[in-house]
Amino acid sequence: MVKLRPINMDEACRYLGYGTQKPDDVILSLLKECEEPLLEACHPAYSYGIFDMEPANPELILLKDCALKLTGKDIVKHLEGCQKVVIMAATLGSGVDQLLRQLQISNMPKALLTDAMAGAAIEQICNDIQEEIRTQMPEFRQTWRFSPGYGDLPLELQETLLSVVEAGKRIGLVTTKSQMLSPVKSVTAIIGLQDMNQITGAVHLTVPEEAGAVAGCGTPEGCSQCRFGGSCGLSAAGKKEEEV
């Protein structure tokens, strides 16, 4: 079950550029003021499907009973050693877009802070989805979330990805003509699932530094770490290697 309350303020502050610094009291109280209206505007929804992987060649992965063809070296590398793939889409809903439009007219500082908090909120939802999958499939560990537009995975896959999880119908998430997500505060992702009983040898592939940055948003923390980093419960890269 997704849970947004409270919004992860540390994460929001990180998006605002504060790093590990704490904002001053004026900003902190503004952040607090923005939280409730944002939560009211959020109608989080998500949809995902889990598919068996059918690697075809070094630059193509097919999925069983699924029209989505994952192309490019980066996604193949990302999913190496995995048996299944989660295709997921999540959104905060169009109410957040409207709130941000209003705030950008009436109160720019609040717009900026709300935007960052919404970024943190959608991240929380994605983490909750991964947790839900983990509960259902405890024998699988998960890679971090790879999205169309990262590395050489074409952004043009967005539309097919959304139709695979019936995102338009089930969660109201569609692409614009230029393949951007609408509502804006949304995420689509591809997560590899690796059966822990089938791990042979250490797997700790790193992904290119720039992978997330290419999309210009939401660079996963795990970018320069192991692809199973961040959210698999075996967090630090070093520790992971030991356990494997």
Binding site: G17, P23, D24, V26, I27, L30, H43, A45, S47, Y48, G49, D65, C66, A67, L68, G93, S94, G95, D97, Q98, L100, R101, Q102, Q104, I105, S106, N107, M108, P109, A111, L112, L113, D115, Q136, G149, L155, E159, L161, S163, V164, V165, E166, G168, K169, R170, I171, G172, V174, T175, T176, K177, S178, M180, S182, P183, V184, V214, A215, G216, C217
Partner: protein, 816 residues
């Protein structure tokens, strides 16, 4: 007799091997016999209308299939007709229109007109279909485009079902009442629900809809909810049919199934429906009582209007905000000439915050193209406010254009008793299903006696009803005359309002504020008149909701007349009320920093208060900043205030930002303090009649294809703070629009922003187009994915990494 519809197509095709994410419409050509077989199975199970396999057969979704819309739709209808022939020839075939797959602005980047064309193509391709169904819609605006396309390109019956969530709203926030009001207005033949939820979840929604419309209700629930892992649905046919049985008394005239349903479900529904029709299913006393209560509610439904998100019913007085109107407002007039949407939107947001239920929109101003401006303002307004709008114009052409693009059911302000007005305006009201205000004046002007104005009202009602406008969509404005000029007429107005209420049963509208024109202490006259008018039948005062005293009358009236049950709204508004003391203006205390040389200098040169204003900006203290500015404007030259206090303060903050000592939120907070101060300064200058001084015009745009505009808007705030005039073209801006604006305004600097790698291409093309047009402007670019190198590579003159750097660029370009 209830008509049985079919069940799911998509999930049936998946059972036959269609992969998830595949394109089912192509199967109309590649596997017609499979499609026909599915239809035939539904007909054999009782379906009387089958939906052709055309749900996604629009030009946008089919663009990569290599097939035309016409080809796919004709094949689909043919396949369905084959099934009809095979099963005895009685069933009908529906053209099934689903969502386009991309959203209309502001949610997405399609225009309303593009959406209309896409749907119209589908409608024209389906000549052989018997009816048109528009289903699984989540956006009222898109639904309206589809309905207009269906009705204007065919004579077939049109049914609309939308998809709602458990919170009784669609994903885009459309309310059930908004669907009912808008679709009823557009003249569709049935409305209802499909998809998204199972039958049990739809029970409360069907009951709600039953109270909101007299149209036949169409129902196609899912077979429960899908399991994300197995993709199966959890409600079985018997349970499905049993739940539907309970809804049959509630106006349901068409029933079938959506995702996860199969022929067995339709068979179960058919059996249940026929039993119900034969009187074999009866309501128990409890169900009977609920049905009677809801039926009474349905029969006593008051007049309603709506935006997509909000319906406003005249079950109590409702306030129409009057402030979006240039008459007598210099700043507003300037905003219209400058196409400054933010100014207008701010006026709208402030009125909604203050309690307006509806906003009147009037943009008539000599020298401004009213039709273009009206559409532009309405589109901008419906992107940010959720209250319904009242379209205020006398020009039928303006009204027609505005009614077409309005998302919901608006009020038209107004028609009057003149023959020409009735002839030109009432048909538009009918065509687009709006409500309308009738002004009680005619060829003879405004009658002085109440009876004569009443007679004009009667004439308007007669003409409206004669062309099929429901009396429920009429409001009457008996016209407020100025008390100082026509004192005796005030009583006549009040009496006319009363007669309209009692004899015609129609709600009154009045522009309230005019009453006190030319008198001192206008508020006293206004509030008194408002109270009297409300008591006489005024239901929709057109007034300034920003006036606490006027809103106070409304709240108190609703409390006293038992509209505001248990005084909930009244208490919420006033529980912390303390009588206003003298206007705030006491000393502002802001501790000096002692270490800031700029502050010290301002204190020495200009004094204590300007130094405090400087600090208020640096520290982001909005109300202190506003208070100090207001005070200082009376004491010193506004340009000194700008150049020697506000801009140095911004520079201090900017320098801290560059050094990484302060962060973006603080920079923007300081900027917004300056923005507030600038608002006051502009008003001050406008009052003095002088032209405001600009350091130069800058065009800003987020490039074509990109809908992320917060970065551009931050730049805008900061540039304006530094005294530049920003012409904001918005987001997803056509290349040509940038070129045209640069030419028209003869700007020296164009700022372009793009967030995504995919839209860098259109940034490059925009720059190229500016160059090709031979315009002498320079271009500054910015955005998350840009680098200085790339900026040069695509032909920009400057790269700015953030808003502060953009200001530096502008200062350089303009030598300011």
């Amino acid at each position: 007799m209830i008509t049985i519809l079919d069940g799911a197509m998509g999930t049936e095709l998946q059972k036959m091997g269609l992969e998830l994410g595949g394109v089912p419409e192509v199967l109309n050509l590649t596997e017609p016999e499979k499609i026909t077989a599915i239809h035939a199975n539904y007909i054999k199970s009782g379906a009387q209308i089958v939906y052709a396999n055309t749900f996604g057969a629009n030009r946008y979704k089919m663009r990569k299939t290599g097939h035309s819309v016409e080809e796919l739709i004709q094949a689909a209808v043919r396949n369905a007709k084959a099934a009809v022939a095979e099963t005895g020839g009685n069933a009908k075939v529906a053209l099934d229109i689903g969502p386009i797959g991309a959203l209309i602005e502001p949610l997405g980047d399609l225009t309303f007109e593009e959406a209309y064309d896409i749907f119209a193509e589908e409608v024209r391709a389906a000549k052989d279909a018997d009816v048109i169904v528009i289903e699984t819609m989540t956006d009222l605006y898109e639904t309206k485009a589809a309905v207009l396309a269906a009705k204007e390109n065919s004579d077939k019956p049109v049914y609309v079902t939308m998809t709602f969530e458990a919170n009784h709203r669609t994903f885009t926030g459309t309310a059930i009442a908004s669907m009912a009001l808008t679709m009823e207005g557009l003249g569709v033949d049935g409305i209802g629900f499909n998809c998204s939820l199972g039958p049990a979840e739809l029970v409360p929604m069907v009951k709600e809809l039953y109270t909101l419309t007299n149209l036949p209700i169409v129902l196609k629930p899912n077979a429960g909810l899908p399991d994300p892992v197995t993709n199966t649905y959890n409600v079985l046919p018997e349970e499905f049919a049993a739940t539907i049985a309970g809804l049959l008394p509630y106006g349901v005239q068409f029933v079938g199934g959506c995702c996860g349903t199969a022929p067995a479900y339709i068979q179960a529904v058919t059996d249940t429906v026929r039993k119900w029709e034969n009187g074999e299913i009866v309501m128990n006393p409890e169900e009977q009582a609920e049905w009677e209560a809801l039926t009474e509610k349905r029969n006593n439904r008051p007049m309603g209007i709506c935006s997509a998100q909000k319906a406003v019913y005249l079950d109590e007085p409702r306030v129409i905000g009057e402030r979006i109107n240039p008459t007598g407002k210099k700043m507003f007039q300037q905003a219209l000439r400058d196409q400054d949407m933010d100014y207008i939107l701010n006026q709208a947001l402030a009125q909604v915050d203050a309690g307006a239920d509806v906003l009147d929109v009037n943009v008539g101003l000599p020298g401004v193209d009213e039709k273009t401006m009206m559409c532009k303002v309405i589109k901008a307004l419906q992107a940010v406010v959720d209250v319904p709008l009242q379209i205020d114009s006398n020009d039928p052409e303006v009204l027609a254009a505005a009614l077409r693009i309005y998302n919901g059911k608006p009020i038209v302000n107004s028609v009057n008793g003149e023959e020409k007005s009735r002839r030109n305006i009432l048909p538009l009201v009918k065509q687009y299903g709006a409500a309308v205000v009738g002004l009680t004046l005619d060829e003879n002007g405004i009658a002085s006696k109440a009876e004569d104005r009443f007679a004009v009202a009667e004439k308007i009602v007669e003409s409206a009803v004669a062309i099929g406008i429901d009396k429920k969509n009429l409001l009457i404005d008996c016209l407020t005359l100025t008390a100082s000029a026509e004192q005796a007429a005030v009583k006549e107005t009040l009496e006319a309002v009363c007669m309209v209420r009692d004899r015609l049963g129609l709600p009154g509208v009045l522009g309230v504020s005019n009453i006190s024109f030319g008198l001192p202490y206008r508020e006293l006259v206004n509030t008194t008149f408002l109270t009297l008018a409300l008591q006489n039948g005024l239901m929709m005062p057109i007034m300034n909701p920003n006036s606490d005293a006027m809103m106070g009358v409304i709240r108190a009236f609703k409390l006293l007349m038992n509209y505001d049950k248990n005084a909930i709204a009244y208490t919420a508004a006033y529980q912390n009320y303390t009588p206003a003391t003298k206007a705030a203006g006491g000393p502002v205390t802001i501790a000096s920093s002692k270490e800031d040389p700029v502050e010290q200098q301002i204190r020495t040169e200009l004094g204590e208060e300007p130094a405090k204003l400087y600090l208020a900006v640096v520290r982001g203290l909005a109300s202190e900043g506003e208070q100090l500015t207001g005070k200082l404007l009376n004491e010193m030259d506004s340009m000194v205030l700008v150049n020697q206090v506000l801009i140095p303060a911004l520079d201090t903050v900017g320098a801290g930002f560059e050094k990484g000592r302060i962060y973006l939120p603080q920079l923007i907070l300081s900027a917004s303090v300056v923005q507030g101060a600038f608002g006051l300064i502009k008003e001050h200058i406008a009052k003095g009649g002088a032209e405001s001084v600009s350091k130069g015009k800058v065009i800003l745009a987020t490039v074509k294809g990109d809908i992320h505009d917060i970065g551009k808007n931050i730049v805008k705030v900061l540039l304006e703070n530094y005294g530049f005039t920003v012409i904001d073209l918005g987001r997803d801006v056509e290349i040509q629009a940038v070129v045209d604006a640069a030419r028209e305004h003869q700007v020296k600097l164009v700022g372009l922003s793009a967030l995504m790698t995919t839209t860098l291409g259109s940034m490059e093309q925009t720059i190229a187009a500016l160059r090709e047009a031979g315009l002498p402007c320079q271009v500054v670019v910015g955005g998350a994915v840009l680098t200085p190198e790339y900026a040069m590579q695509i032909g920009a003159d400057y790269y700015a990494k953030d808003a502060k750097e953009t200001v530096d660029v502008a200062r350089k370009v303009f030598g300011a």
